[in-house]
């Protein structure tokens, strides 16, 4: 398969996914996985919570933060 043909297959797949997403109203609420922004806000939280390097690791118990 030539490069051009490969791109055309990818485009086709993208288009078919786009139409599927349209049909079923699917929208991701996460930013794109291709976004390489590193989510690493150092979170050294206290009380009975653990420290974490990653903002997405929730480090507080349900009692302390609501």
């Amino acid at each position: 398969m030539t490069d051009k043909e490969e791109i055309s297959v990818e485009d086709k797949a993208d288009n078919s996914q786009a139409s599927l997403f349209d049909k079923y109203g699917i929208k991701s609420l996460s930013k794109s996985k291709t976004d390489k922004r590193r989510v690493t806000k150092e979170s050294v939280a206290f009380c009975c919570s653990k420290s974490s390097l990653d903002e997405r690791d929730i480090n507080q118990c349900t009692q302390c933060v609501i």
């Binding site: 599927l20 109203g25 996460s30 050294v44 206290f46 974490s52 997405r56 933060v65 609501i66």
Partner: protein, 486 residues
């Protein structure tokens, strides 16, 4: 994420022969906005997937879940379910995913800093109406960690980390109240800060803040993680709840300490413990801190932490149990207040089981395998010479994992209980479908103090989407518009 089934026949074959397996961790939530009744939110915290979909998608997912015929479903949709972890070829594959995510979590945990909790004393200069330590009779008059005891902390940590992991660490001053003004109280804090200065160790404190002003010069130049200070309202209500043992109010002194800390750029975690007694005073408190400009500071310098008053459930608690408000009640009440009070609106960024993170980080939280790091990422050194897996067990030597003074000794058998982060939940939490959103409850708080109630997980997550969805969608729209312009 899911297996790549290249043809519709592959998926169909599985669906027809042994059925697809719909994840038990998927939450279906409403889009509570006018005209959007036909839309639903799918949120799977194990897979960190979150999508808005039409109701018809939910019906198909429900059919898979109930093992009913799914009829003619497009291959692409089933592939979407599989890719995003809403559906698995079998339950065993979901369990494999759980194990994989757990291993990733363990690896992230290994990178985190080690929290050494230094409980310099269990005495306190306040007599809060809801103090669980008072209610549990934990105070030990005259018992203070001495500099000589502190010298042994290192030896215990050395022994602990042998055959385990070498880690960065930080100190957390804890009590009782660690910042008391007695000569011996001051002496131990000075010794600890000296160590921090010498070895560049970050320091934090959970303090009532009454003497923070007097201590602030001692902390200058140190790496301060944060000072967690609780203020329960404007002066009158705060002083009613958080009385000084000498009968004087604590409010003015605490606010003076916070002002000085902000001036010195010490991060402040401003905690408000909320129940029926003080919730109506929150708007006035919000206005006070807004006038001081604190709400305009970035979150890494000043953050608000709203907390339920869990100690009201504590046996022997001094305050009225009737005043207890569940977290969801607190959030609903404050949301109403935020519509009438601009300062509350400015302050109100509820956590909602981590849905806030979807807004701030742009991605959902990682699956939560228990919020607890007792005995693994934290050790609590008591003023009694015992070492506890966490601060909740302070004063209960039967739960200690060793001693650091006068002898350094580890109780390996007791410590082994804490090796597996996965087994931290109560049985009830462990079998709950919502556990990866919630993380489960603190076991000692459930078993020893009876302060941890099941927190209405689904309602809190729904509240989070109601609150943050408009902001998230606005952000995506404006980013998409920007991309188009480029």
């Amino acid at each position: 994420m899911g297996k790549d089934f290249s043809t519709a026949e592959d998926i169909k074959a599985i669906a027809e022969t042994r059925g697809l397996y719909a994840s038990r961790h998927t939450m279906v939530l409403d889009v509570n906005q006018p005209g959007r009744e036909h839309e639903k939110i799918l949120y799977n915290p194990l897979a960190s997937s979150v999508h808005i979909v039409n109701s018809s998608v939910v019906s198909i997912l429900s059919a898979i879940q109930n093992q009913q015929s799914i009829g003619e479903v497009e291959h692409g949709l089933l592939q979407f379910f599989l890719d995003k972890g809403y559906v698995f070829p079998s339950r065993a594959e979901e369990e494999q995913k759980e194990r994989l995510e757990y291993e990733k979590y363990r690896m992230r945990v290994q990178e985190g800093a080690f929290q050494l909790i230094l409980t310099t004393t269990l005495q306190c200069n306040l007599q809060c109406s809801y103090c669980y330590q008072d209610a549990a009779g934990m105070a030990r008059p005259g018992e203070i960690m001495t500099p000589e005891m502190f010298e042994n902390v290192d030896a215990f940590v050395d022994q602990y980390t042998k055959d385990r992991h070498e880690k960065r660490c930080y100190y957390l001053l804890y009590g009782g109240e660690p910042l008391l003004l007695g000569k011996r109280d001051r002496e131990i804090v000075e010794r600890i800060t000296q160590e921090c200065r010498m070895f560049d160790i970050p320091l934090a404190a959970v303090t009532n803040g009454v003497n923070l002003y007097e201590y602030s010069d001692l902390f200058k130049g140190l790496k301060i993680g944060e000072f967690q200070i609780t203020v329960d309202g404007p002066a009158d209500i705060h002083n009613k709840r958080k009385k000084a043992r000498d009968g004087k109010g604590s409010y003015e002194r605490i606010m003076k300490g916070i002002e000085r800390s902000i001036e010195y750029e010490f991060p402040i975690n401003f905690k408000i413990v909320i129940d029926r007694e003080n919730i109506d005073y929150v708007p006035e408190l919000a206005e006070i801190i807004d006038r001081k400009g604190w709400l305009d500071l970035p979150e890494d310098r000043f953050k608000i932490q709203l907390a339920e008053n869990a100690a009201l459930n504590c046996p022997g608690g001094q305050a009225e149990g009737d005043n207890y408000m569940r977290p969801i009640e607190i959030l609903r009440d404050l949301l109403e207040k935020s519509k009438r009070h601009s300062a509350v609106k400015k302050m109100f960024r509820p956590f909602c089981m981590g849905i806030k993170v979807l807004y701030t980080a742009g991605m959902p939280p990682h699956p939560r395998f228990g919020a607890c790091s007792a005995g693994v990422l934290q050790l609590a050194f008591g003023s009694d010479g015992f070492v506890y897996p966490c601060m909740v067990y302070l004063g209960f030597p039967e739960h200690s994992i060793g001693t650091y003074y006068p002898e350094v000794a580890i109780n390996e058998k007791e410590l082994q209980k804490y090796e597996d982060l996965f087994s931290r939940n109560t049985q009830e939490c462990e079998s709950c479908d919502l556990k990866y959103a919630c993380g489960g409850r603190c076991v000692p708080s459930v078993e020893t103090l009876n302060t941890a109630k099941c927190p209405d997980v689904k309602e809190l997550v729904q509240f989070g989407f109601d609150f943050y969805l408009p902001m998230i969608e606005e952000r995506w729209l404006s980013e998409a518009a920007k991309e188009k312009q480029q």
